[in-house]
Protein backbone atom coordinates (compact mmCIF):
# COMPACT_ATOMS: atom_id res chain seq x y z
CA UNK A 1 0.00 0.00 0.00
CA UNK A 2 1.35 3.41 -0.89
CA UNK A 3 2.08 6.03 1.70
CA UNK A 4 -0.68 8.27 0.50
CA UNK A 5 -3.33 5.60 1.14
CA UNK A 6 -1.91 4.76 4.55
CA UNK A 7 -1.90 8.41 5.52
CA UNK A 8 -5.41 8.89 4.23
CA UNK A 9 -6.63 5.97 6.34
CA UNK A 10 -4.87 7.30 9.42
CA UNK A 11 -6.37 10.70 8.81
CA UNK A 12 -9.90 9.35 8.40
CA UNK A 13 -9.59 7.31 11.58
CA UNK A 14 -8.15 10.26 13.43
CA UNK A 15 -11.04 12.51 12.49
CA UNK A 16 -13.51 9.82 13.43
CA UNK A 17 -11.99 9.43 16.89
CA UNK A 18 -11.65 13.17 17.40
CA UNK A 19 -15.26 13.73 16.46
CA UNK A 20 -16.34 11.04 18.88
CA UNK A 21 -14.29 12.44 21.74
CA UNK A 22 -15.63 15.93 21.29
CA UNK A 23 -19.18 14.70 20.82
CA UNK A 24 -19.12 12.57 23.97
CA UNK A 25 -17.43 15.42 25.83
CA UNK A 26 -14.60 13.11 26.73
CA UNK A 27 -12.18 15.93 25.95
CA UNK A 28 -12.66 19.68 25.94
CA UNK A 29 -10.10 20.55 23.31
CA UNK A 30 -7.94 18.67 20.86
CA UNK A 31 -4.54 19.68 19.65
CA UNK A 32 -3.48 18.30 16.32
CA UNK A 33 -1.98 19.24 13.01
CA UNK A 34 -3.40 21.31 10.22
CA UNK A 35 -2.24 21.69 6.64
CA UNK A 36 0.58 24.18 6.38
CA UNK A 37 0.69 27.14 4.06
CA UNK A 38 4.07 26.15 2.72
CA UNK A 39 4.75 22.82 1.06
CA UNK A 40 7.13 21.40 3.66
CA UNK A 41 5.33 22.51 6.78
CA UNK A 42 2.40 21.62 8.94
CA UNK A 43 0.76 23.75 11.54
CA UNK A 44 -0.34 22.91 15.07
CA UNK A 45 -4.01 23.64 15.60
CA UNK A 46 -6.30 23.60 18.62
CA UNK A 47 -9.95 22.71 18.03
CA UNK A 48 -12.85 22.53 20.41
CA UNK A 49 -15.86 21.74 18.25
CA UNK A 50 -16.95 18.94 15.99
CA UNK A 51 -17.19 21.25 12.98
CA UNK A 52 -13.47 21.87 13.08
CA UNK A 53 -12.53 18.21 13.10
CA UNK A 54 -12.00 18.14 9.35
CA UNK A 55 -9.16 20.59 9.71
CA UNK A 56 -7.10 17.88 11.38
CA UNK A 57 -4.68 16.15 9.08
CA UNK A 58 -2.03 13.52 9.17
CA UNK A 59 0.88 13.39 6.76
CA UNK A 60 4.62 12.95 6.86
CA UNK A 61 5.21 16.60 7.65
CA UNK A 62 3.63 16.59 11.10
CA UNK A 63 6.93 16.94 12.90
CA UNK A 64 6.22 19.37 15.75
CA UNK A 65 6.04 17.62 19.11
CA UNK A 66 2.65 18.68 20.42
CA UNK A 67 3.58 17.83 24.00
CA UNK A 68 5.36 21.19 23.92
CA UNK A 69 2.02 22.97 24.21
CA UNK A 70 1.19 21.25 27.50
CA UNK A 71 4.26 22.25 29.49
CA UNK A 72 3.49 24.98 30.21
CA UNK A 73 -0.13 24.81 29.09
CA UNK A 74 -1.07 27.33 26.43
CA UNK A 75 -3.86 29.66 27.61
CA UNK A 76 -6.48 27.81 25.56
CA UNK A 77 -5.92 24.70 27.69
CA UNK A 78 -6.86 26.47 30.89
CA UNK A 79 -10.36 27.63 31.60
CA UNK A 80 -10.88 30.51 33.97
CA UNK A 81 -13.59 28.58 35.82
CA UNK A 82 -12.99 24.90 35.20
CA UNK A 83 -9.22 25.09 35.58
CA UNK A 84 -7.17 22.71 33.48
CA UNK A 85 -9.16 21.42 30.55
CA UNK A 86 -9.05 17.87 29.33
CA UNK A 87 -6.87 17.91 26.25
CA UNK A 88 -6.84 15.35 23.49
CA UNK A 89 -3.41 15.19 21.94
CA UNK A 90 -2.96 13.80 18.47
CA UNK A 91 0.02 11.60 19.19
CA UNK A 92 2.47 9.77 17.10
CA UNK A 93 4.77 7.52 19.08
CA UNK A 94 7.17 10.22 20.18
CA UNK A 95 4.44 12.65 21.23
CA UNK A 96 2.94 9.92 23.38
CA UNK A 97 6.34 9.15 24.85
CA UNK A 98 6.95 12.80 25.59
CA UNK A 99 3.64 13.06 27.44
CA UNK A 100 4.32 9.94 29.47
CA UNK A 101 7.85 11.02 30.27
CA UNK A 102 6.66 14.44 31.33
CA UNK A 103 4.20 12.69 33.61
CA UNK A 104 7.09 10.80 35.19
CA UNK A 105 8.68 14.17 35.89
CA UNK A 106 5.40 15.37 37.39
CA UNK A 107 4.94 18.01 34.75
CA UNK A 108 1.73 16.57 33.36
CA UNK A 109 -1.19 14.97 35.08
CA UNK A 110 -2.18 12.07 32.86
CA UNK A 111 -5.79 12.38 34.02
CA UNK A 112 -6.01 15.69 32.24
CA UNK A 113 -5.04 14.40 28.82
CA UNK A 114 -6.12 11.83 26.31
CA UNK A 115 -3.62 10.39 23.89
CA UNK A 116 -5.09 9.93 20.44
CA UNK A 117 -2.71 7.34 19.06
CA UNK A 118 -1.53 7.38 15.49
CA UNK A 119 0.63 4.74 13.85
CA UNK A 120 3.30 7.09 12.59
CA UNK A 121 5.27 6.12 9.54
CA UNK A 122 8.01 8.69 9.89
CA UNK A 123 8.40 12.33 9.01
CA UNK A 124 10.25 13.84 6.10
CA UNK A 125 13.63 15.41 6.69
CA UNK A 126 12.55 18.72 5.29
CA UNK A 127 15.90 20.47 5.49
CA UNK A 128 17.63 17.72 3.59
CA UNK A 129 15.10 17.98 0.78
CA UNK A 130 15.37 21.75 0.74
CA UNK A 131 19.13 21.56 0.54
CA UNK A 132 19.11 19.01 -2.24
CA UNK A 133 16.67 21.02 -4.30
CA UNK A 134 18.93 23.97 -3.65
CA UNK A 135 18.17 27.40 -5.00
CA UNK A 136 14.85 26.61 -6.59
CA UNK A 137 11.50 27.23 -5.06
CA UNK A 138 9.53 24.20 -3.89
CA UNK A 139 5.86 24.64 -4.66
CA UNK A 140 4.35 21.29 -3.88
CA UNK A 141 5.31 18.23 -1.90
CA UNK A 142 3.37 15.01 -1.82
CA UNK A 143 3.96 11.35 -1.16
CA UNK A 144 3.10 8.60 -3.53
CA UNK A 145 3.96 4.95 -3.19
CA UNK A 146 7.33 4.92 -1.49
CA UNK A 147 8.43 8.26 -2.82
CA UNK A 148 8.32 11.89 -1.90
CA UNK A 149 7.47 13.98 -4.93
CA UNK A 150 8.73 17.53 -4.91
CA UNK A 151 7.47 19.92 -7.55
CA UNK A 152 8.57 23.39 -8.50
CA UNK A 153 8.10 25.76 -11.38
CA UNK A 154 10.16 23.83 -13.87
CA UNK A 155 11.22 20.71 -12.10
CA UNK A 156 9.86 17.61 -10.48
CA UNK A 157 11.96 15.36 -8.37
CA UNK A 158 11.37 12.11 -6.57
CA UNK A 159 13.04 11.13 -3.35
CA UNK A 160 12.77 7.67 -1.83
CA UNK A 161 10.90 8.12 1.43
CA UNK A 162 12.93 5.53 3.30
CA UNK A 163 16.06 7.48 2.74
CA UNK A 164 14.73 11.01 3.11
CA UNK A 165 12.92 10.28 6.32
CA UNK A 166 14.26 12.08 9.34
CA UNK A 167 17.19 10.05 10.64
CA UNK A 168 15.61 9.39 14.02
CA UNK A 169 12.50 7.98 12.36
CA UNK A 170 14.46 5.49 10.31
CA UNK A 171 15.08 3.02 13.06
CA UNK A 172 12.16 4.05 15.23
CA UNK A 173 10.77 1.15 17.23
CA UNK A 174 8.01 3.06 18.99
CA UNK A 175 5.79 4.33 16.22
CA UNK A 176 2.56 4.20 18.18
CA UNK A 177 2.13 5.78 21.61
CA UNK A 178 2.90 3.32 24.40
CA UNK A 179 0.06 1.92 26.48
CA UNK A 180 0.20 2.77 30.15
CA UNK A 181 -1.03 -0.13 32.22
CA UNK A 182 -2.17 1.91 35.20
CA UNK A 183 -4.13 4.32 33.01
CA UNK A 184 -6.07 2.24 30.51
CA UNK A 185 -8.31 5.16 29.55
CA UNK A 186 -5.39 7.36 28.67
CA UNK A 187 -5.03 6.14 25.12
CA UNK A 188 -7.55 5.94 22.35
CA UNK A 189 -6.77 5.10 18.77
CA UNK A 190 -3.78 3.00 17.92
CA UNK A 191 -1.47 2.38 20.81
CA UNK A 192 0.79 -0.49 21.66
CA UNK A 193 2.45 -2.16 24.57
CA UNK A 194 6.23 -2.28 24.36
CA UNK A 195 8.68 -4.50 26.09
CA UNK A 196 12.25 -5.50 25.40
CA UNK A 197 12.96 -2.96 22.73
CA UNK A 198 16.02 -4.11 20.85
CA UNK A 199 18.18 -1.58 19.09
CA UNK A 200 21.71 -2.09 17.86
CA UNK A 201 22.43 1.61 17.29
CA UNK A 202 24.35 0.67 14.17
CA UNK A 203 23.53 4.03 12.61
CA UNK A 204 26.01 5.86 14.81
CA UNK A 205 28.64 3.12 14.94
CA UNK A 206 30.52 4.64 12.05
CA UNK A 207 30.75 8.01 13.74
CA UNK A 208 31.72 6.49 17.07
CA UNK A 209 34.65 4.73 15.45
CA UNK A 210 36.24 8.02 14.37
CA UNK A 211 39.18 9.51 16.20
CA UNK A 212 38.49 12.38 18.61
CA UNK A 213 39.95 14.80 16.12
CA UNK A 214 37.65 13.61 13.33
CA UNK A 215 34.63 13.70 15.62
CA UNK A 216 35.50 17.20 16.76
CA UNK A 217 35.86 18.36 13.18
CA UNK A 218 32.57 16.89 12.08
CA UNK A 219 30.61 18.12 15.07
CA UNK A 220 32.05 21.61 14.99
CA UNK A 221 31.45 21.85 11.27
CA UNK A 222 27.82 20.93 11.84
CA UNK A 223 27.45 23.45 14.65
CA UNK A 224 29.40 26.23 12.97
CA UNK A 225 26.28 27.73 11.37
CA UNK A 226 24.29 27.84 14.62
CA UNK A 227 22.78 31.28 15.21
CA UNK A 228 21.81 30.58 18.83
CA UNK A 229 18.16 31.27 18.08
CA UNK A 230 17.33 28.40 20.46
CA UNK A 231 14.62 27.03 18.20
CA UNK A 232 15.87 23.55 19.14
CA UNK A 233 15.31 24.31 22.78
CA UNK A 234 11.96 25.94 22.28
CA UNK A 235 10.64 23.08 20.17
CA UNK A 236 11.82 20.43 22.58
CA UNK A 237 9.05 19.13 24.84
CA UNK A 238 11.64 18.35 27.52
CA UNK A 239 13.06 21.88 27.61
CA UNK A 240 10.66 23.45 30.05
CA UNK A 241 13.05 25.18 32.46
CA UNK A 242 12.07 28.68 33.42
CA UNK A 243 15.63 29.79 33.05
CA UNK A 244 17.87 27.83 30.73
CA UNK A 245 21.49 27.39 31.80
CA UNK A 246 22.72 29.50 28.88
CA UNK A 247 20.60 32.40 30.06
CA UNK A 248 21.72 32.26 33.65
CA UNK A 249 23.66 35.31 34.59
CA UNK A 250 24.31 34.92 38.30
CA UNK A 251 26.95 33.81 37.60
CA UNK A 252 27.38 33.79 33.85
CA UNK A 253 28.41 30.23 33.13
CA UNK A 254 28.78 30.18 29.40
CA UNK A 255 29.18 32.76 26.67
CA UNK A 256 26.20 33.86 24.66
CA UNK A 257 28.01 34.52 21.43
CA UNK A 258 28.12 32.50 18.25
CA UNK A 259 31.81 31.80 18.63
CA UNK A 260 32.50 28.13 18.22
CA UNK A 261 33.41 27.35 21.86
CA UNK A 262 30.19 28.94 23.09
CA UNK A 263 28.00 27.19 20.53
CA UNK A 264 29.72 23.90 21.22
CA UNK A 265 29.21 24.19 24.94
CA UNK A 266 25.55 25.07 24.52
CA UNK A 267 24.87 21.97 22.49
CA UNK A 268 27.01 19.77 24.70
CA UNK A 269 25.25 20.73 27.89
CA UNK A 270 21.84 20.69 26.32
CA UNK A 271 22.61 17.14 25.25
CA UNK A 272 23.71 16.37 28.78
CA UNK A 273 20.36 17.62 30.06
CA UNK A 274 18.54 15.43 27.57
CA UNK A 275 20.09 12.21 28.79
CA UNK A 276 17.37 9.75 29.69
CA UNK A 277 14.76 12.28 28.68
CA UNK A 278 15.02 12.62 24.92
CA UNK A 279 12.08 10.89 23.28
CA UNK A 280 13.63 10.87 19.82
CA UNK A 281 11.03 13.04 18.13
CA UNK A 282 13.67 14.89 16.14
CA UNK A 283 11.85 18.20 16.50
CA UNK A 284 15.07 19.97 17.48
CA UNK A 285 16.68 19.23 14.12
CA UNK A 286 13.55 19.69 12.07
CA UNK A 287 12.83 23.17 13.38
CA UNK A 288 16.38 24.43 13.02
CA UNK A 289 16.37 27.34 10.58
CA UNK A 290 19.96 26.57 9.66
CA UNK A 291 19.34 22.87 9.19
CA UNK A 292 21.72 21.65 11.87
CA UNK A 293 21.47 17.92 12.37
CA UNK A 294 21.33 17.02 16.06
CA UNK A 295 20.04 13.50 15.48
CA UNK A 296 23.37 11.80 15.97
CA UNK A 297 23.71 13.32 19.41
CA UNK A 298 20.21 12.26 20.35
CA UNK A 299 20.90 8.73 19.18
CA UNK A 300 24.06 8.61 21.25
CA UNK A 301 22.11 9.67 24.32
CA UNK A 302 19.56 6.99 23.69
CA UNK A 303 22.36 4.49 23.37
CA UNK A 304 24.16 5.47 26.55
CA UNK A 305 21.00 5.35 28.57
CA UNK A 306 19.88 2.07 27.07
CA UNK A 307 23.19 0.33 27.51
CA UNK A 308 24.09 1.68 30.90
CA UNK A 309 20.77 1.86 32.64
CA UNK A 310 18.54 -0.25 30.38
CA UNK A 311 16.10 2.62 30.15
CA UNK A 312 13.90 3.83 27.33
CA UNK A 313 12.26 7.15 28.00
CA UNK A 314 8.54 7.70 27.89
CA UNK A 315 7.25 4.18 28.32
CA UNK A 316 6.13 4.11 31.93
CA UNK A 317 5.23 7.14 34.04
CA UNK A 318 6.06 5.24 37.24
CA UNK A 319 9.66 4.40 36.46
CA UNK A 320 12.13 6.94 37.76
CA UNK A 321 14.16 8.57 34.98
CA UNK A 322 17.77 7.34 35.18
CA UNK A 323 19.34 10.66 36.02
CA UNK A 324 17.46 10.99 39.29
CA UNK A 325 18.00 7.37 40.20
CA UNK A 326 21.04 5.23 40.98
CA UNK A 327 22.09 1.71 41.70
CA UNK A 328 24.91 0.55 43.88
CA UNK A 329 26.27 -1.60 41.07
CA UNK A 330 26.13 0.87 38.20
CA UNK A 331 28.99 0.34 35.77
CA UNK A 332 32.06 2.41 36.59
CA UNK A 333 34.58 1.16 34.08
CA UNK A 334 35.45 4.75 33.18
CA UNK A 335 36.91 5.47 36.61
CA UNK A 336 40.65 5.69 36.99
CA UNK A 337 42.10 2.68 38.76
CA UNK A 338 45.56 1.75 39.89
CA UNK A 339 47.30 -0.54 37.40
Amino acid sequence: MGLETVNKDIETNLREIARGLLKDKKVDVIIGYKKGTLPLLSQPIIIDSEEEVDKLIWNNLCYVNLAKYLVPRVPRFVDSEKGNLKVGVVSKGCVGRALIHLASENKINLDEITIIGIPCNGVINRQRIEMEIGEKEILEVSVSGDNIIVKGKDFEKEFPFDEYMNDLCKGCKIRKPPLVSKAPDLCVGECEEYSNIVDDFSDIAEFEALTPEEKWNQITEELSVCTRCYACREACPMCYCNLCFVDQNKPVWFGKTTDLPDVFVYHLIRAMHMAGRCVACGACSLVCPMGIDLNKINRKLEKIVKERFDFTSGLDPDVLPPMVDFKMDDAQEFMLEED
Binding site: N249, K250, P251, V252
Partner: protein, 279 residues
Protein backbone atom coordinates in the same frame (compact mmCIF):
# COMPACT_ATOMS: atom_id res chain seq x y z
CA UNK B 1 31.21 62.43 16.21
CA UNK B 2 32.23 60.32 19.22
CA UNK B 3 31.12 56.73 19.52
CA UNK B 4 28.14 56.85 21.89
CA UNK B 5 28.90 53.41 23.29
CA UNK B 6 32.26 54.39 24.70
CA UNK B 7 32.09 55.36 28.35
CA UNK B 8 33.89 58.24 29.98
CA UNK B 9 36.20 57.01 32.69
CA UNK B 10 35.78 58.03 36.30
CA UNK B 11 37.13 56.92 39.62
CA UNK B 12 35.22 56.21 42.79
CA UNK B 13 35.80 59.08 45.19
CA UNK B 14 33.71 57.92 48.12
CA UNK B 15 31.24 55.22 49.06
CA UNK B 16 28.44 55.72 51.54
CA UNK B 17 26.39 52.85 52.87
CA UNK B 18 22.85 54.20 53.00
CA UNK B 19 20.75 51.79 54.98
CA UNK B 20 20.94 49.37 57.86
CA UNK B 21 20.93 46.17 55.81
CA UNK B 22 23.72 47.69 53.75
CA UNK B 23 22.36 46.69 50.38
CA UNK B 24 22.11 50.26 49.18
CA UNK B 25 25.22 52.32 48.62
CA UNK B 26 25.79 55.75 47.20
CA UNK B 27 28.97 56.06 45.22
CA UNK B 28 30.50 59.36 44.32
CA UNK B 29 32.47 59.53 41.10
CA UNK B 30 35.18 61.82 39.92
CA UNK B 31 35.84 62.22 36.20
CA UNK B 32 39.32 61.43 35.05
CA UNK B 33 39.20 64.14 32.44
CA UNK B 34 37.98 67.67 33.06
CA UNK B 35 36.36 67.90 29.61
CA UNK B 36 34.29 64.81 30.32
CA UNK B 37 32.86 66.45 33.40
CA UNK B 38 32.02 69.56 31.39
CA UNK B 39 30.32 67.42 28.75
CA UNK B 40 28.29 65.68 31.43
CA UNK B 41 25.71 68.45 31.60
CA UNK B 42 22.58 67.07 33.22
CA UNK B 43 19.32 67.99 34.83
CA UNK B 44 17.62 66.14 37.70
CA UNK B 45 15.77 63.00 36.65
CA UNK B 46 18.22 61.94 33.99
CA UNK B 47 20.16 58.72 34.23
CA UNK B 48 23.48 57.36 33.09
CA UNK B 49 24.75 53.98 31.98
CA UNK B 50 27.45 53.18 34.47
CA UNK B 51 29.69 50.21 34.11
CA UNK B 52 32.41 48.29 35.75
CA UNK B 53 34.39 47.48 32.69
CA UNK B 54 34.62 43.73 32.46
CA UNK B 55 31.42 43.13 34.38
CA UNK B 56 28.78 45.03 32.48
CA UNK B 57 26.69 48.09 32.33
CA UNK B 58 23.44 49.20 33.92
CA UNK B 59 21.26 52.30 33.84
CA UNK B 60 21.10 54.19 37.15
CA UNK B 61 19.37 57.47 37.94
CA UNK B 62 21.67 60.32 38.88
CA UNK B 63 21.29 61.01 42.59
CA UNK B 64 23.37 64.16 42.74
CA UNK B 65 22.12 67.54 41.69
CA UNK B 66 23.84 69.63 39.01
CA UNK B 67 24.24 72.23 41.72
CA UNK B 68 26.62 69.97 43.64
CA UNK B 69 29.70 70.86 41.71
CA UNK B 70 32.58 68.64 40.84
CA UNK B 71 30.92 65.34 41.53
CA UNK B 72 28.24 62.93 40.45
CA UNK B 73 26.58 60.39 42.67
CA UNK B 74 24.65 57.22 42.07
CA UNK B 75 22.63 55.27 44.59
CA UNK B 76 22.81 51.59 43.84
CA UNK B 77 20.89 48.71 45.35
CA UNK B 78 22.55 45.34 45.25
CA UNK B 79 20.42 43.33 42.86
CA UNK B 80 22.11 41.66 39.92
CA UNK B 81 25.58 40.95 38.64
CA UNK B 82 26.60 44.50 37.83
CA UNK B 83 25.12 46.16 40.90
CA UNK B 84 26.75 43.53 43.09
CA UNK B 85 30.09 44.34 41.52
CA UNK B 86 29.52 47.98 42.37
CA UNK B 87 29.01 46.96 45.95
CA UNK B 88 32.29 45.10 45.86
CA UNK B 89 34.23 48.05 44.47
CA UNK B 90 36.66 50.18 46.40
CA UNK B 91 37.60 53.81 46.37
CA UNK B 92 39.83 54.49 43.40
CA UNK B 93 38.30 51.83 41.15
CA UNK B 94 37.61 52.78 37.57
CA UNK B 95 34.00 53.19 36.56
CA UNK B 96 32.72 53.91 33.08
CA UNK B 97 29.93 56.43 32.67
CA UNK B 98 27.83 57.16 29.61
CA UNK B 99 25.35 59.95 29.81
CA UNK B 100 23.50 61.94 30.77
CA UNK B 101 20.64 60.03 29.17
CA UNK B 102 16.86 60.40 29.13
CA UNK B 103 14.68 63.46 29.37
CA UNK B 104 14.76 64.14 33.11
CA UNK B 105 12.29 66.18 35.13
CA UNK B 106 11.05 69.18 33.13
CA UNK B 107 12.82 71.80 35.27
CA UNK B 108 11.96 74.66 32.91
CA UNK B 109 8.26 73.87 32.83
CA UNK B 110 8.14 73.50 36.59
CA UNK B 111 9.20 77.09 37.08
CA UNK B 112 6.66 79.20 38.92
CA UNK B 113 4.70 76.17 40.11
CA UNK B 114 4.36 74.41 43.43
CA UNK B 115 6.04 71.03 43.52
CA UNK B 116 4.81 67.96 45.35
CA UNK B 117 7.44 65.25 45.50
CA UNK B 118 6.22 61.77 46.36
CA UNK B 119 8.78 59.04 46.74
CA UNK B 120 9.10 55.57 48.16
CA UNK B 121 12.03 53.37 49.02
CA UNK B 122 15.28 53.68 47.19
CA UNK B 123 13.67 55.23 44.13
CA UNK B 124 14.23 58.53 45.91
CA UNK B 125 17.56 59.18 44.20
CA UNK B 126 16.42 61.34 41.29
CA UNK B 127 13.97 63.06 43.65
CA UNK B 128 16.88 63.96 45.91
CA UNK B 129 18.52 65.47 42.86
CA UNK B 130 15.41 67.47 42.02
CA UNK B 131 14.83 68.82 45.53
CA UNK B 132 18.47 69.82 45.95
CA UNK B 133 18.31 71.58 42.60
CA UNK B 134 15.22 73.53 43.55
CA UNK B 135 16.52 74.40 47.01
CA UNK B 136 19.72 75.82 45.57
CA UNK B 137 20.05 79.56 46.22
CA UNK B 138 20.13 80.31 42.51
CA UNK B 139 16.95 78.41 41.75
CA UNK B 140 14.76 78.62 44.86
CA UNK B 141 13.06 81.80 43.75
CA UNK B 142 11.96 80.22 40.43
CA UNK B 143 9.74 77.65 42.09
CA UNK B 144 6.74 77.78 44.43
CA UNK B 145 6.11 75.73 47.54
CA UNK B 146 7.76 72.36 47.86
CA UNK B 147 6.24 69.41 49.65
CA UNK B 148 8.18 66.17 49.98
CA UNK B 149 6.39 62.97 50.97
CA UNK B 150 8.86 60.16 51.41
CA UNK B 151 7.84 56.72 52.59
CA UNK B 152 9.85 53.69 53.60
CA UNK B 153 9.23 50.24 54.95
CA UNK B 154 11.05 51.00 58.20
CA UNK B 155 13.32 53.63 59.63
CA UNK B 156 16.43 51.68 58.70
CA UNK B 157 15.61 52.08 55.01
CA UNK B 158 15.51 55.86 54.96
CA UNK B 159 18.11 57.16 52.51
CA UNK B 160 20.01 60.43 52.53
CA UNK B 161 19.43 61.14 56.23
CA UNK B 162 21.85 64.06 56.22
CA UNK B 163 20.05 66.01 53.52
CA UNK B 164 16.64 65.08 54.87
CA UNK B 165 17.55 66.47 58.28
CA UNK B 166 18.76 69.66 56.67
CA UNK B 167 15.53 70.01 54.73
CA UNK B 168 13.47 69.48 57.85
CA UNK B 169 15.26 72.41 59.45
CA UNK B 170 14.46 74.74 56.58
CA UNK B 171 11.21 76.63 56.47
CA UNK B 172 10.86 76.82 52.69
CA UNK B 173 10.17 73.14 52.27
CA UNK B 174 7.61 70.84 53.87
CA UNK B 175 9.09 67.40 54.49
CA UNK B 176 6.80 64.55 55.46
CA UNK B 177 8.56 61.30 56.30
CA UNK B 178 6.62 58.12 56.87
CA UNK B 179 7.24 54.46 57.56
CA UNK B 180 4.86 51.60 57.01
CA UNK B 181 4.63 50.32 60.58
CA UNK B 182 5.08 51.90 63.99
CA UNK B 183 8.51 51.72 65.46
CA UNK B 184 10.01 52.73 68.74
CA UNK B 185 11.73 56.09 68.59
CA UNK B 186 10.11 57.14 65.30
CA UNK B 187 8.50 60.53 65.81
CA UNK B 188 7.28 61.20 62.30
CA UNK B 189 4.30 59.82 60.37
CA UNK B 190 3.32 56.18 60.15
CA UNK B 191 1.33 54.73 57.26
CA UNK B 192 1.56 53.93 53.57
CA UNK B 193 2.45 56.73 51.23
CA UNK B 194 -1.04 56.78 49.71
CA UNK B 195 -2.60 57.30 53.13
CA UNK B 196 -0.21 60.12 53.88
CA UNK B 197 -0.97 61.71 50.51
CA UNK B 198 -4.64 61.61 51.48
CA UNK B 199 -3.84 63.16 54.84
CA UNK B 200 -1.57 65.88 53.49
CA UNK B 201 -3.94 66.47 50.56
CA UNK B 202 -1.64 68.64 48.47
CA UNK B 203 -3.55 71.26 46.54
CA UNK B 204 -3.66 70.75 42.76
CA UNK B 205 -3.68 74.50 42.14
CA UNK B 206 -0.70 75.58 40.09
CA UNK B 207 1.16 72.48 41.20
CA UNK B 208 2.94 69.49 39.73
CA UNK B 209 3.27 66.11 41.41
CA UNK B 210 6.49 64.22 40.89
CA UNK B 211 6.31 60.54 41.71
CA UNK B 212 8.90 57.84 41.83
CA UNK B 213 8.71 54.57 43.69
CA UNK B 214 7.62 50.97 43.51
CA UNK B 215 4.72 50.33 41.09
CA UNK B 216 2.15 49.65 43.81
CA UNK B 217 3.01 52.91 45.57
CA UNK B 218 2.77 54.86 42.34
CA UNK B 219 -0.62 53.38 41.56
CA UNK B 220 -2.15 54.03 44.98
CA UNK B 221 -0.64 57.49 45.37
CA UNK B 222 -1.82 58.51 41.92
CA UNK B 223 -5.32 57.31 42.74
CA UNK B 224 -5.38 59.54 45.81
CA UNK B 225 -4.16 62.52 43.84
CA UNK B 226 -6.76 62.04 41.15
CA UNK B 227 -9.44 61.80 43.83
CA UNK B 228 -8.55 65.24 45.18
CA UNK B 229 -8.73 66.84 41.78
CA UNK B 230 -5.29 66.46 40.23
CA UNK B 231 -5.13 66.47 36.44
CA UNK B 232 -3.29 63.72 34.53
CA UNK B 233 -0.98 66.22 32.85
CA UNK B 234 0.23 67.46 36.21
CA UNK B 235 1.27 64.07 37.54
CA UNK B 236 4.77 63.05 36.46
CA UNK B 237 6.19 59.56 36.80
CA UNK B 238 9.63 58.20 36.26
CA UNK B 239 9.58 54.71 34.75
CA UNK B 240 11.97 51.83 34.86
CA UNK B 241 12.66 49.32 32.12
CA UNK B 242 15.37 46.90 31.27
CA UNK B 243 17.90 48.77 29.16
CA UNK B 244 21.14 47.98 27.49
CA UNK B 245 22.27 50.82 25.26
CA UNK B 246 20.38 53.72 26.80
CA UNK B 247 20.31 55.55 23.48
CA UNK B 248 17.32 54.04 21.72
CA UNK B 249 19.10 51.43 19.64
CA UNK B 250 19.02 48.12 21.46
CA UNK B 251 15.25 48.02 21.33
CA UNK B 252 14.11 46.46 24.57
CA UNK B 253 12.78 49.41 26.54
CA UNK B 254 9.93 50.29 24.24
CA UNK B 255 6.44 50.86 25.56
CA UNK B 256 4.48 51.00 22.37
CA UNK B 257 6.32 53.31 20.03
CA UNK B 258 8.09 55.18 22.83
CA UNK B 259 11.46 54.27 24.19
CA UNK B 260 11.88 54.76 27.91
CA UNK B 261 15.55 55.58 27.45
CA UNK B 262 15.16 58.48 25.04
CA UNK B 263 11.51 59.54 25.29
CA UNK B 264 11.46 58.96 29.05
CA UNK B 265 12.07 57.96 31.75
CA UNK B 266 9.78 60.80 32.83
CA UNK B 267 6.24 60.56 31.49
CA UNK B 268 3.13 62.37 32.63
CA UNK B 269 0.14 60.30 33.61
CA UNK B 270 -1.64 61.68 30.55
CA UNK B 271 1.10 60.32 28.31
CA UNK B 272 1.11 56.98 30.09
CA UNK B 273 -2.59 56.58 29.58
CA UNK B 274 -2.06 56.81 25.83
CA UNK B 275 0.62 54.14 25.93
CA UNK B 276 -0.05 50.40 26.04
CA UNK B 277 0.14 48.82 29.45
CA UNK B 278 3.47 47.09 28.94
CA UNK B 279 5.63 48.51 31.69
Amino acid sequence: MPNPYIPMLTKIKSIISENEVRDIKTIELEFQKEEDYKAFDYIPGQFAEISIIGKGECPIGIASSPTEEGTIKFTIKKMGTVTSSFHNSDIGDTIGVRGPLGNGWPMEELKGQNIVVIGGGFAFSTLRSLVLYVLDDNHRKDYGDITVIYGNRDSGEVLYRDVLEEWEKRDDINVVLTIDREEEGWTRKVGFVAAIVKEVAPSPDNAVAIICGPPIMIRTAVDELVKIGWKDEKILNSLEMRMKCGIGKCGRCNIGEKFVCIDGPVFSLAELKKMPNEY
